[in-house]
């Protein structure tokens, strides 16, 4: 129906619209009271920048519009990158921002029932102490949900930074570590690579054997030219460089089986946050790897959460939470409506220090999270209750 919004029947007119407007106004007031500057990012964004950060898969998730004579533009699928780009342009101090507006997502298959347009309201904090900023963003989302009448959401937390720290600490060839790091957010490929690096080297194909022999004798260009005409921008130097890398990889010692198991175990840790922290510390000690800074960040975050009234030690923790969302590389969390599996998480967010590097530049501390106000209103059942208040405004 024309008046419907995502998760909210009739949400574009009348009392339901007024209730939504009142709810988002209260949430934004909270974010601004916490020192966040309100920003209005553009809806349309240059495709190249987003594709560089998110990869081609984004085309399956985001709508593209064509501007004749210019490149394609994406309708923003979220606010993370648009707000970061605004920050780079405006450099406001303190570097904390809040936003409210629609995002658009393609939902291929059409029958999966997910909305193609929905609202997000959120905060992004750049710089500042990581543990404190993580805890503050978490607490702001908790408070935003309370504004919508959801005071006891189902929470799950994680910390991809700990598993990444384990990966950085175990012994392996730098090229292999870089490949695993690059595929950290693609669990199937990550596992396949880890098994490959930890197992016996596969028997090389005849062509691979010839290539490795050529690599040690400087004969790669001749071998390549014999195989076909040199076409395209990837040239003989690229082929020779990879042949060299393959030769180095063939000579590398396998990743120790216990180290591979340690990475798996760190990613499999689940339980209350304090027990999870203890378990991770135990795993690291038994495995002989030093991940003290990551564990200390975890512990300091729990302290910072406790100071904000969160029962931090009891928070459900799953190490691999949000692992398939490329760019999260530290604290992550989701808050869902109890008993409403039909609704998406009402709030979600996390740390993505690495994204600045993907945009070109040094990594910079960044944490953000968003609420889905329409889903929150549907879960909190305040669509009718708050209508009189809204009408009075």
């Amino acid at each position: 129906m024309a008046a419907d919004r995502a998760y909210l029947a009739g949400g574009r007119v009348g009392p339901a619209r007024a209730a939504l407007a009142a709810l988002t106004a209260r949430m934004m007031a909270r974010f601004e009271a916490a020192g966040a500057q309100r920003v209005d990012p553009a809806a349309l964004h240059q495709a190249d920048v987003l594709l560089d950060v998110y990869g081609e898969d984004l085309r399956g998730r985001a709508f593209i519009v064509e501007q004749p004579g210019a490149g394609p533009l994406f309708l923003r699928p979220d606010f993370t990158l648009p707000v970061l780009q605004l920050h780079r342009a405006a450099r406001a101090e303190p570097a904390r921002y809040c936003y409210l507006g629609p995002v658009w997502r393609r939902q291929p298959g059409a029958q999966n029932g997910r909305p193609t347009e929905f609202l997000q309201a959120g905060v992004e904090v750049y710089g500042e102490d990581a543990a404190e900023a993580d805890a503050e963003v978490f607490a702001l989302m908790r408070d935003a949900l309370a504004e919508g009448g959801v005071t006891a959401p189902e929470v799950v937390t994680g910390d991809l930074g700990v598993a990444i720290a384990v990966l950085e600490a175990v012994a392996m060839a730098p090229a292999r570590r870089a490949a695993l790091r690059r595929h950290f957010w693609r669990p199937v490929r990550f596992q396949a690579l880890l098994r490959r690096y930890a197992g016996p080297a596969p028997a090389p194909s005849p062509l691979r054997r010839a290539l490795l022999e050529a690599a040690s004798a400087g004969g790669v260009p001749a071998l390549a030219e014999g195989a076909g005409g040199v076409v395209g921008a990837r040239d003989l130097a690229d082929v020779a460089a990879r042949a060299q890398a393959l030769a180095e990889d063939a000579a590398a010692a396998p990743v120790a089986a216990e180290d591979a198991r340690l990475i798996d175990a760190a990613l499999a840790v689940e339980g209350p946050a304090d027990a999870a922290h203890a378990r991770l510390a135990e795993l690291a000690k038994a495995g002989g790897v030093d991940i003290a800074p990551a564990l200390e960040r975890f512990a300091r975050r729990l302290d910072a959460l406790a100071r904000r009234g969160v029962e931090a030690g009891a928070l459900p923790f799953r190490a691999a939470t949000a692992r398939t969302l490329e760019y999260y590389d530290g604290f992550v969390f989701e808050m869902a409506a109890p008993g409403r599996p039909d609704l998406p998480p009402l709030a979600a967010g996390g740390r993505y220090d690495g994204i600045a590097a993907a945009l070109g530049g040094p990594p910079a501390p960044a944490v953000g999270a968003m609420v889905r106000p329409e889903a929150l209103l549907a879960a909190g059942g305040l669509a009718d209750a708050s209508a009189p208040e809204a009408a009075a405004c």
Binding site: E56, R59, P108, A110, L211, G232, D238, A241, R242, L246
Partner: protein, 238 residues
Amino acid sequence: MLTLGLPSKGRLQQDAVDRFAAAGVRVERSPEGREYAGHVSGLPDAGLALLSAGEIPRALAEGAIHVGVTGEDLIREHIPDAETRIALPLRLGFGRADLIVAVPAFWVDVETMHDLDEAAAAFRARHGRPMRVATKYHALTRRFFAQAGVADYRLVDSQGATEATPKNRAAELIVDITSSGETLRANHLRVLEDGLILRSEAMLCVSRAAPWGPAARRALAELGHRLGFDGEGIALGG
């Protein structure tokens, strides 16, 4: 009335017409010549629509035609969750072509999708931009590359002469259909060992979304009887 959608020209149309004729269903274009219409004899209550092969998948998904003939590659590319909207009761055995990933043959370091992923990472580091893949099969390429865990690539749309794009420096590699492989070889390209995305051939397709009245259902049952598939066993919509 049942509307049968066939490709408006080419080898695929001729093979389909021959196959129907062998089963006693004659498809004839209007004698007026240029009009994209015609009639079907030998099947009760059936009409003909001639469409571009690429438009047949969408016409089936939307229910504009009841039955159509087109390549599986086009169905999988254009219709997500194809089976929920289109039944595919019969492979027709013609129009065979493989959708494949091909790279310049002189890339002696790239034999598999795993190699391609490593080469793509190195290419991006050295050239400051992702490797480009020329294709008209965007959805199938994205899905296949995601399953293989290949990142760091960029799709470039190519609606024809795709094999020439590496040579023309419009792309570094391609995803395209091939039947004999001769065009690939002529353009200095080689198929990756695990680079087969889809073994495609012409399919008889039945729209679940078309308006299925009693006459259309009877015509479908008869068509099934003639061609050798169970037309009555297909779950249809309204």
